[in-house]
């Protein structure tokens, strides 16, 4: 999966699940302070990412370190690589 696909699909999650417009979805955006997500949204973000990318990340400790959209892009890319092995 190329990086552009990951960015597009993560953006789709933020648009579909959290109704955040495209122009706010930049890699440096903090998902809490800039995009307004809270603790309940994080649960839904994990559910939506699992569905969108067909991955299992709910109990992955690395999820807790995610702060920006860019962190999500990198995390998904990493997970996808790990799953290929």
């Amino acid at each position: 999966m190329v990086e552009q696909d990951i960015i597009r699909m993560v953006n789709e999650v933020f648009n579909e699940s959290f109704e955040i417009p495209e122009d706010k979805l930049v890699p440096g955006a903090n998902i809490f302070n800039d995009l307004g997500l809270d603790s309940l949204d994080i649960v839904d973000l994990v559910v939506a990412l699992q569905k969108k990318f067909a991955v299992t990340i709910r109990d992955d400790e690395r999820v807790r370190t995610i702060r920006t959209l860019g962190d999500i892009h990198n995390f998904i890319q990493l997970i996808k690589k790990e799953n290929k092995k």
Partner: protein, 406 residues
């Protein structure tokens, strides 16, 4: 005890999403029943008619509020906003601790409950469930969502007594204000239309099933050709207020609540019972200090089931004889279940204001078991000083409320 006034109204109904649209539909004698083609996929569901409300402007509710709302809670929030505006309640009053809300529904959002099961059951996997689905499914979903959305810091509670939910909510709010616990209460009920709910009536042969190709002719309360109820949806919210407070601030007072009661029948979960209805209504009359002859109008529960209408008619006949006008609005809007008590109360308040009684739509030939009471079959001009509102629910729960013009 303090007196209690009704000072605000809000309605989302199958006839439109405001009190004005609702009343205009009633005035025009409209019936909101529709054939529901999307229900055809349910094997064993004979009733394929319903009376849906129109979901609109829901995106005006911020996402972080809306995410915990199923269909019925969105209706409740929209009706509550209308009622707050109508009563002229200030934002600071909502969060004063002196204003509360009691809002009931038959259950949590049926649509959301269905979605939750569809998510979990195929793989028995709970990890796919979103964080707020629970808040849509929970039994007090309407009350919690209205409370959160409006920032209510007073009493927030729910009454879940199926078709008596809204009237119990209003009765509870009435008692809380009478006792001095709160100064204002947003009260009422909400319901979402879903085939699984229709099915619960259909399995008991209580839902209309012979008018699927002729939906405008059902439901038929008290009529000889009635064949069951038509499920509907929406929300009705009223603002209750300490009477003196309302007078002091020169609020519009639609009516004063002067009596309320809810009794169980103690003998059957689904069959109405005339003796129990009589006991409930008589106690309400006693509490209101009103004689049967002083009642100008009875807004009946009458859902168009064979058994329920017969028992209600018998109870009315015994208490009131054939002199007090009676009508049911189910012929117009179907049975809005947990919202019916408040929506039909709102319509009765508007009849009081306009001096007209809206008839029972589709009542063409009163059934022999439903005769001996004064059926209103055409619009009737009449001054209403006192009216009675009935609601009867599965579980053998009856409720009645009496309002007086001020």
């Amino acid at each position: 005890m303090r007196r209690v006034a009704i000072t605000g109204l809000g309605a989302i109904t199958p006839l439109g999403n405001s009190v004005d649209a609702f009343i205009s539909g009633l005035e025009r004698g409209e019936n909101a029943t529709q054939y529901m083609p999307e229900w055809e996929k349910y094997t064993g569901l004979r009733c394929l008619v319903g009376a849906p409300a129109r979901m609109q402007d829901e995106k005006l509710i911020p996402r972080q509020n809306r995410r915990s709302m199923g269909r019925l809670s969105i209706f409740a929030v929209q009706a509550a906003e209308q009622a707050v505006k109508d009563a002229g309640i200030l934002p600071a009053e909502l969060s004063s601790g002196r204003l509360g809300c009691v809002i009931g529904s038959t259950m949590g959002s049926a649509e959301s409950i269905n979605e939750a099961f569809e998510t979990i059951l195929p793989d028995h996997d709970l990890s796919k469930l979103t964080s707020t689905k629970f808040f849509q499914c929970i039994s007090h979903t309407a009350a919690l969502n209205v409370g959160q959305y409006l920032g209510i810091t007073g009493t927030v509670m729910s009454t879940n007594a199926a078709c008596a939910s809204a009237l119990q909510a209003i009765g509870t709010g009435y008692d809380i204000i009478r006792l001095g616990g709160q100064d204002m209460m947003l009260c009422g009920g909400a319901e979402g239309l879903h085939p699984t709910v229709v099915g619960s009536f259909d399995v008991l042969f209580a839902a209309s099933s012979t008018f699927n190709q002729d939906p405008k002719n059902t439901p038929r309360p008290f009529d000889a050709r009635r064949d069951g109820l038509v499920c509907a949806e929406g929300s009705g919210i009223v603002v209750l207020e300490d009477y003196e407070r309302a007078q002091k601030r020169k609020a519009k007072i639609y009516a004063e609540i002067i009596g309320y009661n809810s009794f169980g029948n103690g003998n059957h979960v689904s069959e109405s019972n005339r003796e129990a209805i009589i006991a409930c209504v008589n106690e309400t009359l006693t509490r209101a200090a009103v004689a049967p002859g002083e009642v100008d109008y009875i807004n009946a529960h009458a859902t168009a089931t064979i058994q329920g209408d017969k028992e209600e008619a018998a109870a009315i006949r015994q208490i009131f004889g054939d002199t007090v006008p009676v009508s049911s609005l189910k012929g117009n809007i179907g049975h809005t279940l947990g919202a019916s008590g408040s929506l039909e109360l709102i319509a009765s308040l508007m009849m009081m204001e306009k001096g007209v009684i809206y008839p029972t739509l589709n009542l063409q030939e009163p059934d022999k078991d439903c005769r001996g009471i004064k059926h209103v079959m055409e619009p009737l001009k009449k001054e209403i000083r006192i009216f009675l509102k009935n609601c009867f629910a599965f579980g053998g729960i009856n409720a009645a409320l009496i309002c007086k013009k001020t």
